[in-house]
Symmetry: C2
Subunit: 195 residues, 2 copies
Amino acid sequence: MTSDDTPKARARAVRADVRRNRARLLAAARETFERDGAGASLEAVARGAGVGIGTLYRHFPTRQDLLEALLAGVYDDLAAAARDLMVTPAPDEALMTWLRTFISEVTAFPGMAASAMVSLQDERPEPSRSWRAMHGAGEALFARAQRAGDAPAGVSFTDVLRLAGAIAAVTEREPVAAGRLLSLAATGVMPGKAR
Amino acid sequence: MTSDDTPKARARAVRADVRRNRARLLAAARETFERDGAGASLEAVARGAGVGIGTLYRHFPTRQDLLEALLAGVYDDLAAAARDLMVTPAPDEALMTWLRTFISEVTAFPGMAASAMVSLQDERPEPSRSWRAMHGAGEALFARAQRAGDAPAGVSFTDVLRLAGAIAAVTEREPVAAGRLLSLAATGVMPGKAR
């Protein structure tokens, strides 16, 4: 029995295989969704990854599971971006930059923003670790803007994120319109007329 | 030949029949969409109206055509509501009331707001007469709030409507959340920090 043939080594090989398939499925999903939108054929995703549809469903029982897994990578990047922005001098600029990045990242393919918004419903399912990391890092950025007097107290960051997500969802392929709507939401349709 | 049997009378009868079918299809569509969402089976709509699927497609070649026809009735009501609000004393309250009504009206069934938003894309198809009427009446309300100093100059009403539509689309079945997000968009995430 060589060292490659012990039960431990075989289990390790299986796990490596599972990880590799998962990574391939995610790469193929991103590519397929960027071409055909979030409603793209899952068979096409499996084909792109070079695995059977059964393997896809073992990794991702539902389309939303696959979308959430793709989004997890995006949320990790956004969490890192928020942490980087914490050390920039202007809290208002930092928050706006991050919200613009958020909108741009969650509109990489049609239907992506709508999928991200599932985590922001009032009766949302348990959010993922990546989502919570992004939410926490973004919230710190928002709290800093609140302390600086740039953002109103008493507003929940979840609502800020939800408003940005709403803009993302309706402007998917129109980055210019997204920027305009974000500016409007930032300055307010009726500033100073709180109600 | 009786008066009911002239070519003119026959044509009139056919037109009445066409109008009746159209009205039945719209009523059945509203009911079916409220139950199953905007993606509901069009066969179920035709069945509900007591007509064949061919008749449905003659009236509404695509699902979006059917949705637009349903929305036209909503837009007419919203145009009337905006005109009524023009004579109320507080321009800011009037605008907020109308935006709240807009959100509530375009979320009567899942997928309705997303469908309404098609008319607000930067590269939008030719908007319907009803849409233009609503846009014009809402714009007058917004212009009055601008003149009163309640809303910023230089903002397009289309963007205001689009922001409200975005909120509607992500909060479809959550009126409380819709109200919170509309208030946030009204007062601004970062009021006074125009950019």
